[in-house]
Amino acid sequence: VAPTVSDIIEQARLVARAVADFGGQLVHPTVRLGVTGLSRAGKTVFITALLHGLLRGGRFPVFEPLASGRIAGAKLSPQPDDAVPRFDYEAHVRSIVVERDWPQSTRQISELRAVIDYQSASGFMRTLTLDIVDYPGEWLLDLPLLDKSYERWSADTMAYLHRTTRSPLPTQFLARAATIDPFAPADEFAAIEAARLFTEHLQLRRKEHPTLSIIGPGRFLMPGDLAGSPALTFAPLLLPADRVAPSGSVWGMMRRRYDSYRDAVVRPFFRDHFARLDRQIVLVDVLAALDAGPEAMRDLQDAMVAVLDCFRVGRSGWLNALFSPRADRILFAATKADQLHHSAHDRLQAILRQVTDGAIARAGAAGAEVDVIALAAVRATREALVRGDGAGLPSIIGTAVPGEWSDGAQFDGTTEMAFFPCDVPADSTRGGDFRSIRFRPPALEQTDDGIPALPHIRLDRALQFLIGDRLR
């Protein structure tokens, strides 16, 4: 495919920005940490726990700079982009620590910068700036659109909608789409109607499977101030493969709107937040997909492959850093590992490896360092063993979120209970009876100096891998 003029301009912009950043990097060493994850993967909690640990000196034995006392302190500082809202760190901490509720699902993009003062191993006082961006996971589904034409996206989406067997089924939209003739003259009302049905279906899916809304575009779910604009009023159509769009037709109109959605929404999002990452962590909620069954697992895998293809990873030399920055370390983390006994974490990691197989191979081949871990940014449970036949059931103890259920029992959100979530299958394609229950954040004892460190699982290992080498 020949690059269009807008593609070339986009590349030129990316290079110009990379060169500008390179200059700033020499003065203030900065790590741009990309926190990637579909919605409900735990991005906000991860960022909150990470900042809380850095600012308050958390319990991070494996994170060497902090454990050996080389980090003198860390503080929040004003972020570089004035147009982006600030990540509401204080509210999220209050929500987790005081109210014991997980933060609300993220509805808009936000950003925060932390400055770490540390002493290098050779004795110089230095600072490292850490830029982190939080955003709704739904938007991530837009990234695959960057390289797709309208025709390609339409064919893929239609194929998926016809194939899927997970409720809710898109029967209404498909019936309507079948009656639209792409060669007919453009009709605004037909377009609005089709887009409405398509959007409704997406919303329904999201309500049914909050963790795994697999098809985009993401702004259809969270339109913000773009609601009702033509850029958000398009839908996939049944298109013949070997024809071109005649001008003035429904097809032509949809294609133009798709292109403007891509140019006005997706590209700035990618350019501002993902094109220049130094380090990347990919959060995947494997357990929810396991709970939902094999098809959800396949959907998750497809989504991860499509999303991760968009990122630039690979060994980073100074020439690359100057013109096309790329993430040279990428960490795949299965979040909410506290829903499992630690003896099952190896299985969880193995499944995550299966899910992100392609991305891991690609990153490894490009020279990036890759690691896969099971992680819980905030550990909401503790472990126990229930005596029984054989070795007993390795279980966890915690307070379930009100409304969660298992075994026909509903939890009220105040009493603690022990839970065995079923053995994790060795193979992700076998569903099994796995149950994933959300637990409330842990009750912390208030100490004299304020809030104690949040418990976690392997957050320190993640930090060591992501920024440990920049704090030498």
């Binding site: 319990r59 034995p61 494996v62 060497e64 454990a67 050996s68 630690h342 974490h345 871990i373 503790r382 472990e383 126990a384 063993l385 229930v386 005596r387 029984g388 054989g390 070795a391 007993g392 059931l393 279980s395 103890i397 298992s406 075994d407 029992a409 009493t415 603690e416 209970m417 022990a418 839970f419 065995f420 979530p421 079923c422 053995d423 299958p425 060795a426 099994g432 009876d433 796995f434 149950r435 699982i457 392997r458 320190d460 290992r461 060591q464």
Partner: protein, 343 residues
């Protein structure tokens, strides 16, 4: 073991089958769990050697058996003779013989324990390497438990040990656990080891520089090196007896034969000569420095053998960075005795 997936299940917190508190209590000291572990692992290391008939060994064993018998016979007849002379003399002789036997037994036992501890340290190091490679969590926990019990007599590590104990309830993977243990437990010991080596090297270079005869400083270098090895082994939690130190010496020398001569020739001597030190100072002083460096090299090799964890997280001390400190000190300390010689 998990061929049939077990179903999810919910239990109330006061279910009598729940082992939450007891599990954590059992995990915290965990030494009894840990002591069972070497039985699985140690024979695997030792058993890897092939059994073969060593005629030389049989000869020496048989010969020493004979010597022991002769000794026993001589002692018995001596005591009998003493009894024949006077009963109280016989009693005294018997008491002395028993005392000697008991002392010999204790010394032998201590030697055996010392050798055993050295072997334990070596096995720990091999297991640490295996854990680092495999990232095995249970292996790492068992290893750290043994490490804690090995170092429990080292007072300066009390705080570090408490810190590690505190992290035992956390979920940390094998490799990270080994790294953590190395950083917490080994870094104070590494510093002290460095100090010991520098002190010993300094002594050797000064004595060599001022000693009147080559034979004297040869003996001094040997004794000093043996003392250094012993101190290093004790520092890292081993308690070698005379046999243990001899075994260490053998390993170190064989190690030195493989890597040492070359390493000494290229880097440091060049540095010495390049500095113009050898030209500036007398020949004796230059010799002293070479001897000091040799001692430092022996010390570094000994650390490799007696340190229960491999150098993974922390940097391995190198001869070059020791040499810098050493020369600065040796120059200032070595010049006063060197002056009358050169002048």
């Amino acid at each position: 073991m998990n061929d049939i997936p077990r179903k999810p299940a919910v239990f109330s917190v006061d279910d009598p089958r729940l082992l939450a508190a007891e599990l954590e209590a059992a995990e915290r000291p965990s030494f009894d769990l840990v002591t069972a572990a070497p039985d699985e692992n140690l024979p695997a290391v030792a058993g890897a050697r092939k059994r073969k008939i060593h005629w030389g060994r049989i000869f020496w064993s048989a010969l020493s058996g004979l010597v022991l018998l002769a000794l026993g016979l001589a002692v018995t007849s001596l005591i009998e003779e003493l009894y024949a002379r006077a009963p109280w003399l016989g009693g005294l002789g018997l008491a002395l013989a028993v005392l000697a036997a008991v002392a010999l037994l204790v010394v032998t036992l201590r030697e055996i324990i010392g050798l055993g501890r050295l072997a334990t340290v070596e096995a720990l190091r091999h297991r640490a390497l295996a854990v680092i490679a495999s990232d095995d969590r249970d292996g790492g926990r068992a290893l750290v438990g043994e490490l804690l019990s090995l170092t429990r007599r080292i007072p300066r590590l009390a705080r570090a040990r408490a810190g590690i104990q505190g992290h035992r309830a956390d979920i940390i993977d094998g490799r990270d656990l080994v790294r953590l243990a190395e950083r917490e437990l080994m870094s104070p010991l590494d510093l002290e080891a460095r100090r010991l080596i520098i002190a010993a090297s300094k002594r050797v270079s000064i004595v060599t520089a001022v000693s009147p005869r080559a034979a004297v400083d040869m003996v001094f270098v040997l004794i000093n090196a043996l003392g250094l090895m012993r101190r290093l082994a004790v520092l890292y939690g081993g308690r070698p007896g005379a046999l243990g130190v001899l075994r260490l010496l053998r390993q170190v020398v064989s190690h030195l034969a493989v890597t040492g001569g070359v390493g000494l020739a290229d880097g440091v001597v060049q540095q010495v000569i390049g500095h113009g030190l050898a030209a500036r100072l007398s020949a004796r002083l230059g010799e002293g420095m070479i001897n000091g460096l040799l001692t430092a090299r022996l010390g570094l090799l000994t650390i490799d053998l007696v340190r229960p964890l491999p150098f993974h997280e922390l940097p391995r001390p190198s001869l070059n960075d020791l040499a810098g400190t050493l020369f600065r000190q040796a120059e200032s300390a070595g010049e006063p005795p060197g002056r009358p010689k050169s002048g």
